[in-house]
Symmetry: D2
């Protein structure tokens, strides 16, 4: 819905053309609160198609570009250039796409998995920092009100000491060999050059892993994994089971699948503590269940008056009215808009404890994919993710520095 609101944020999109569901999802999410104006874009590799999409979206012809390089250059040069670029292409162009904007100081929303390897992901994180730009990664399940409530429950101690984490993102969308039928999504997601061999881990496993980190505040210290290919002839892995040891010695499990026949979506998390447990499922996102030590179950609905401010502020409808995936994207974009505006207007940062995922989350996700793949290659041997290695190295370095400084 158009407004003359001069304060709207200006956005551009790379990808999201014909047949690209995720691009549409971003646009739906951006529109909900009317805080973005989509002013520029490259909507696919086919020039004509892209221009058609641009026109249908109301993007001025002069700002419908052929390549993201052109777009980055031109928009950086305009006084009214875009505030943020959304990179919603297949995985193999995330790095170059995001880089083009970040190095010009333009904020970026980049789809997950952030890039195809952790070195390039790390490079993007560094680039964002060096150019004082935001790099946001849309793990949007964390923007559901009841996921925020779950994270609040954990941090408020209602589960007590955490004991176990069980997360799965097991979908059946590609349980048949769709890639043989010309199905666009299936084609690139089963192409190892584009999606990587552990495709399903990057695509769905990173969502599950991020959700577990977001709700519990813990990270995997080591993983032991198996990758499988359920669909004969498929060139990538379409199923993964992972044992995790999270920090604080909390064990866990993760299951990612694109071939869990019959499952519609399949993201679900259960977290256990010594005083209670919680469960949340994406297919019924407006509810959160809590079970106490005795075994009584309590079901909370988004919008209940007694919920935390973290979830309350993300609900747009009255109690009992369902919200869904687009509202979660809307929440991501709303939190992001708060921060983009604060930066634009030189106000204090709005980032709070439970906020939108950034490049660091994207990097940790890619490091998780790499650790899972390495474990599988070693027949399930325990692997320490690079995120932990790096962190430990930093701590060691800081220690060394301190010791040196202190002369002791």
């Amino acid at each position: 819905m158009s407004t003359q609101n001069a304060r709207q944020l200006s956005a551009g999109m790379v990808g999201g053309g014909i047949g690209a569901d995720i691009g549409k999802t971003h646009r739906f999410g951006m529109r909900l609160d009317d805080r973005y104006s989509l002013d520029a874009g490259v909507f696919g590799r086919d020039r004509e198609q892209s221009a058609g999409v641009a026109a249908s979206l109301g993007v001025a012809p002069g700002r419908a570009y052929d390549t993201y390089q052109q777009m980055a250059e031109a928009e950086a040069a305009r006084e009214d250039g875009i505030d943020v670029a959304i990179v919603a292409t297949p995985n193999d162009s995330h790095f170059e796409g995001a880089k083009a904007f970040l190095e010009r100081g333009i904020n970026v929303v980049c789809e997950k998995p952030l890039t195809q390897d952790s070195a390039t992901s790390r490079a993007l994180v560094d680039l964002a920092a060096a150019n004082d730009a935001i790099l946001a990664v849309p793990h949007c399940y964390s923007a559901y009100p009841m996921v925020r409530e779950a994270a609040r429950m954990v941090s408020d101690g209602r589960l007590g000491r955490l004991t176990f984490i069980d997360v799965e993102h097991a979908s059946g969308w590609a349980a048949a060999p769709l890639e043989l039928t010309g199905h666009k999504q299936a084609s690139w997601r089963t192409d190892p050059d584009v999606a990587g061999f552990p495709s399903v881990v990057g695509d769905l496993g990173t969502h599950g892993y991020h959700l577990s980190r977001y709700i519990t505040g813990l990270e995997a210290e080591r993983v032991s994994a198996q990758l499988h290919t359920f669909v004969p002839g498929r060139k990538v892995f379409d199923n993964a089971t992972v044992a995790l040891e999270y920090s604080d010695e909390v064990p866990g499990r993760l299951w990612a699948s694109m071939a869990a026949t019959g499952h519609n979506h399949g993201l679900r998390i259960r977290v256990f503590g010594d005083e209670g447990s919680l469960e949340w499922q994406h297919e019924d996102p407006h509810h959160l269940t809590y079970q106490d030590l005795e075994g009584t179950t309590t079901t909370y609905t988004h919008g209940l008056a007694s919920l935390s401010e973290d979830s309350a502020r993300l609900t747009r409808v009255g109690l009992g009215h369902p919200e869904g995936f687009l509202e979660a994207f809307g929440n991501f974009y709303r939190d992001l808009a708060d921060e983009l505006e604060a930066r634009r207007d030189a106000r204090p940062s709005t980032v709070r404890e439970l906020s939108f995922p950034t490049g660091i989350d994207g990097l940790i996700g890619v490091q998780f994919v790499e650790a899972v793949a390495a474990s599988h290659a070693a027949d399930g041997a325990w692997i320490v993710p690079a995120s932990v290695v790096d962190r430990d190295a930093e701590v060691a370095a800081a220690d060394a520095e301190l010791r040196e400084a202190g002369g002791s």
Copy 2:
């Protein structure tokens, strides 16, 4: 999200200011597909507050009006005046508000219950027809993909001959005397001058009744009703039970409540036939269940490849991703936009079998409320709704005319 799309429809809103949830819901729904530009409005009775809302919504100061009369007059006079006015005020100003626009040929979306009595509702319907304007009524539950699927199931005969209809919209939102606490919604909805004595029937009962008509294609031929006030001291009825006889001699029940303690939302319908039955619930809107004669239950999710085109075209996300109330409003506004654009561009009508509810639906809703109230006043005696009386009278008149013409 702003676009320079010249083809966007121009919209104005009456009501929907501070504290008015339904106005926000309309705006969220309008934004989803980016086919409307909100260009004018009166956002409440407080002039300053209204101007503030207008500014925050990007409405130009010159088109933020003090009254809907001013707005109707001014917008009708502009060459680029609004295509459609949304009337989202409390019930007692629906009639005057809608009338102001319709009589100037401006299309109207008017909240339900359409007006406070069937005479004024009838007048609006006639006014719309006389001025060739659309009068749409947002019974948006009928815009859910799985409600459309349900209607399709019935018309395709999967239930066989219909035998029973059971619908309820029983919410617990006002099970406590909120009107004593200054709660805005509760205050006007329990004020008989604004909401009418059978308040809950107009507010929630009309939704339930419309849903049953929409899915089955049947209408109530007579009703027997009881109205109750569960909250002591409340000035309106907050609960209603109704026995219905639908056309084709199909019996049914309707329960409307704003005081069903603990219920979050409470809209639910079950339709039975001699070959199968279906159930749909608003709190889990992306599923539709079907039970066959033997007792096997099948659950369909929106987005399944095998569903009808009627539901498929209304789904914006992939299989298993939930959608909710705002998407249903979005669907209403999308269907409406199709028709508004067709009229603007002098193309053939887009209205199809299963489309958005109009003034006729609003009128039938008000006639239902009146019949329910009349039955209650007569201790549950059977009452024939005026919609049926009118229809029968028309048929009789046509018959008479025919006989006269035929000389027989």
Copy 3:
């Protein structure tokens, strides 16, 4: 399982032969706690078949009778004659069957509806009283632990002041014309001479109505009803909708159906108060849900440590292990055994607040059926059940007596 336990109660059965599910259900329930010995019976009208069933059940040939009259006479004459007779025949022989035992002072369990009219039901109640015999009626849904818990919740005030009762027993078992296929159950239940015209009300409606009385402690003061025949050509009514006014001016609804296509069983109750509401469904009997005024839902499972003694003592398994219909019957027979033994051993009565239903409940059920039928015959006019008329008459008589005595 056989025991030499001299203290076992001796039982006999009338009905429950080949093809009679309910007889088997009684026997399963009786066996669970091993407190009954089945020592006599008439298992159907076919002499040979009956003898075969008796033999297979370990009933001595000399106590396998041809008629219940013979059985009543012979058992009454034995020193070790049966303690209790179970009458599990079709409706039209309940009265004569139960009468034969009661008038000889033998306790009786008689299936519902107790008899075909309230006069004969009243006669049985009087006969039981006159002969100091127990007349129990197996409305066994009231013997589920979580139904007891529900009743306790209400009497403990957790729902506050009751506002609404909604009960349904809407099954789809006879949604097809099974009576045309020789189906035994369907044949007699659709024969008006055996099951009565309001067949479904006697068969299922009385269960629903009893359940509502049991949980809330309230009775219907008046009813307005519609009866329907969904299956063309069927000779009895197979569907009923009833509006009720319970005592304390609590409104309610009841729906009974044997033709609710697709429903497997369909007994479900919701009770609302001004502080909370509860729901119980027979198809998930080990759970009870409670919703508070805010809208939070709590689910209790049978076996939870915090439940009341009323439900705890009826659970035979550990937390989370489901129990079902046979255990409910077992509970009925256990409570009954407590009382039968107490009487036999001349100990104080064990009957407690929440106990097994008796002839009074059976009578009230038949009076309910009659009131529903009368209302239907009067096109839904309000009818006061005879139970209320009788009660009011008793009160009036008592008043009159008092006034007379007092001379005032």
Copy 4:
């Protein structure tokens, strides 16, 4: 319920005294179909208590023994000695208890885990074979009608080629340190001398593993496992996660827990194939859900006319009436009775494809526990269960023999 049926099977019980839930469960199950007479027993180690229980159960004083050795000897010597002994003691006396009866040719039902190590389990299996006695192990979840239906679905090919198995038996019953409070069950189940260190794997893991074998017909070829102790200070492991590779290269997962806070029972299985998937949960045992490749869900209820004979014959109630744990035990005892009677009466075996679990299943369960423990001890290294080693050795030996015989 006592009968004079001379054909009843005579049973004796070891264990199952005061406070022992499982003994009661066996007795409830045995009583349902009235095919067993409980004639002998040792109901606990306390002589007086045992005698009291015996008396209350109607066991003649002369057959209430002090020890199972006495019982085995005496019963073997009687002409009317017991047909079957139920061993329902804590784990550490399973072996000696079962052995005493088997070596005298008395059939045995022995609780799981069969014994404390696979050598003794193997010995029992051999002993049963040598003495032509039945050794049955009550993995009674496999006796639910809908579990049988699930197994039938798989063997009928409705899932296509199997791709994944996910099973969990994750209960929260011991999420608190109940053993510190004198809780009887918790005390011995957390005593490594009685329950073994991998206690939860033997107690609940073997149920889950058996269920997966029963439904799919597959066995684990190797396992990788982690054991955890969630409750600080507890002397055994109370949680286990296992990755499995079943035969036919089907991967799977198993989770066993007695400390999954808030879970009531927690047994649940999902099986995936390339054409469909199924799910069954013990907390809702009368339903089985099937999901097809497209994502449509079908829910079957026990008692539906279209189900297989395997499940139909195990249902005692009408459609929609729930059954539970006791009926599952009843089904186990009914299948067992069929076979015991066939042997007694020298009729052909009644054992069918889907029948009661035996000592082989018990042995495989113990071998599974050992493999899990070994993997945990090796930090999750893959371990081949002895069942597979043994089988491969047998195949190799047979091959060698064949080659030798053939001279090639």
